[in-house]
């Protein structure tokens, strides 16, 4: 069914179509509308699900961990400081290999406090052992949410669905919402095979000595690497059913022989796509949209960048003191190729700063020769800083 709907409401509808049995969440901007909409669906009798009100995000994550471990399909959502407060539990959920789905409505991290969008929150927990998928528009937010439940249950890995706060969560656009029958077929009833059950006791989360910890980490790492195949398969099967693909692990648009590529994540890819049309006279450019940040698709990225002389990475989060997070990953991956492109890492849109179409020519200009800075934060207004901080 096609309808014009706000992103958060659409995601809530998608979650409800997956028939979660337990939802626990604590409100935080810009995630709030998702959980409000779910609460409304439950209150109206349109979703039969236990909604647990909690006093913090730590408890929200703990409650859904427990619910999933005892056999329920569970869901939570958060943003920014809420994700950070969950961090300890996020690592536990992943390490315990608990299948559940979390929506991160991406927001900048304080201090200084910002309610606005960048991707520092989810990027800060990228090493927690979750699958992390990023949505480029609200149709993808719906489609990836549904894919995420299936992926989580097939891989026994939790899936974080990342959607830009405000830019997607608060934007109304046309969405094709799948039917209940389609989603039931795609995400069938599930039984967690390590369900905590007093009739068949087992323990989760025991102390592990050095004799076993390394093996546990190996198994978890391997499970994430193997999940690449499942991510691609799930997306392909979704496309077979709905006619829509979200782009597997990574997707490329533009001429295959373009000398320049721009790699980024999330809805800024849409702005770049319109900009490429607008500034077509600047020559052919490949746009490379990363959907899966974890597992990090090294081989798919190498293929996507084959033949490029320059790769511009548009960063939406930073590793302070090091530089761009995505750019570091891309450099490491591409260093294994025979003639890697020059990689330029440019951060933009931090804490909600607008990313206009005009960033496209500016990035191309700022990377036009090998002598250009390999890392830069765009749109800096240094006169706002004390002299010693410039």
């Amino acid at each position: 069914m096609r309808l014009a709907i706000e992103g958060s409401a659409a995601v809530a509808r998608a979650v409800a179509l997956c028939r979660p049995q337990v939802i626990a969440a604590y409100p935080i901007t810009p995630q709030t509308h998702i959980v409000e909409n779910l609460a409304q669906l439950i209150a109206d009798g349109n979703l039969h699900c236990e909604m647990i009100s909690v006093e913090s995000e730590f408890s929200a994550a703990s409650a859904v961990l427990g619910a999933a471990a005892s056999g329920s399909r569970a869901y939570t959502a958060s943003s920014a400081q809420g994700i950070l407060l969950m961090t300890e539990v996020l690592y536990n959920i992943a390490g315990l290999r608990i299948p559940l789905v979390l929506t991160c409505a991406n927001r900048a991290i304080g201090a200084p406090v910002s309610a606005w969008n960048d991707q520092q929150d989810s990027m800060s927990v990228r090493d927690a052992g979750w699958i992390q998928l990023y949505c480029a528009d609200n149709q993808e937010a719906v489609d990836i949410t549904i894919q995420a439940f299936r992926l989580a249950e097939r891989t026994e890995l939790p899936v974080m669905v990342c959607m830009d706060g405000f830019v997607l969560t608060h934007t109304l656009e046309a969405i094709d919402l799948p039917t209940q029958a389609e989603v039931d077929a795609f995400v069938p009833p599930y039984r967690f095979n390590r369900t905590l059950d007093s009739r068949s006791p087992l323990s989760l989360g025991n102390l592990v000595t050095p004799d076993y910890y390394t093996e546990a980490r190996y198994a978890h790492h391997r499970a994430l690497l193997r999940a690449q195949e499942e991510i691609v398969t799930t997306d392909r099967e979704w496309e077979t059913m709905t006619g829509r693909s979200c782009g597997g692990l990574i997707s490329v648009s533009g001429p295959t022989d373009a000398p320049v590529g721009i790699l980024s994540i999330g809805p800024v890819m849409g702005t770049l796509s319109d900009a490429r049309e607008e500034y077509a006279s600047l020559g052919p450019v490949k746009l490379i949209k990363l959907r899966s940040m974890r597992p990090f698709p090294i081989d798919a990225l190498k293929d996507a960048c084959a033949g490029l002389q320059r790769l511009i990475v548009l960063e939406r989060a930073l590793s302070l003191g090091a530089g761009g997070i995505l750019g570091s990953g891309a450099r490491a991956a591409l260093s294994e190729t025979p003639s890697p492109p020059h990689v330029f890492s440019f951060a933009a849109g931090l804490g909600g700063r607008d990313i206009p179409l005009g960033i496209y020519p500016r990035m191309l200009e700022a990377s036009k020769s090998e002598d250009c800075a390999r890392f830069a934060i765009f749109d800096l207004e240094l006169d706002k800083l004390a002299a010693e901080d410039r």
Partner: protein, 200 residues
């Protein structure tokens, strides 16, 4: 230049200025929903950030005949709708394209408002009409009705369909009545050529 016309100008961009709690975000959503009903490609979003009752809030709409993907802010809208006349003198009200139009909700006329327009401007007493017809000071249906009549951007029945998705029964009937009453207050198609020029 040709290239720019194809891409940028196929898109109509609208800003609705109001205060938190007055429903201008809903107005933006309804306008986009009307565009959707008319088969257009649409996007509507509030000015991003925390919402505070009474504080100035902008909401934005993009309507296009062809698909678009951009997510950037709208800095130079084709049209501005000002829901609350107390916002008229804020610096953020600037930015409308000179060939566009500004629709103001006020019981006063332009001269009384002391507002120097940067584009063609129309004024309607949308809140007074809403109080009279709805019994509530919610000017959205009036402003959107007048806006579509002025611009001919979408057929009026698209707005009727969008309202019918949000309201029912007596509330819907009164909103349709309000929309029609406000539409009668403006000159049909007065700003139409701006839209047509924008579609070249």
């Amino acid at each position: 230049m040709l290239l720019k016309m194809n891409v940028v100008t196929a898109l109509t961009e609208i800003r609705i200025d109001g205060r938190g709690g007055q429903g201008n975000v809903i107005a933006a959503y309804i306008l986009a929903e009307a565009g959707f009903e008319a088969g257009r490609h649409v996007q509507a979003f509030p000015s991003f950030g925390p919402e505070r009752r009474g504080a100035p809030v902008a909401a934005y709409v993009r309507i296009s005949d062809r698909p678009f993907k951009r997510r950037c802010q709208i800095l130079e809208p084709n049209y501005v709708i000002i829901q609350d006349p107390s916002l008229l003198h804020l610096p953020r009200i600037v930015g409308v394209r000179p060939e566009g139009g500004t629709l103001i909700n006020s019981p006063k006329d332009l001269e009384e408002l002391g507002f120097a327009p940067q584009s063609r401007t129309a004024v309607i007493p949308a809140t007074a009409l809403a109080v009279e017809i709805l019994g509530l000071p919610i000017p959205n249906s009036a402003l959107l009705g007048a806006f579509l009549m002025l611009t001919d951007l979408l057929p009026m029945d698209a707005l009727e369909k969008a309202l019918a998705r949000r309201f029912e029964g007596e509330t819907l009937q009164r909103n349709l009545q309000l929309m029609a009453a406000a539409a009668k207050r403006v000159t049909p198609g007065l700003w139409k050529e701006a839209v047509h020029a924008a579609r070249n």
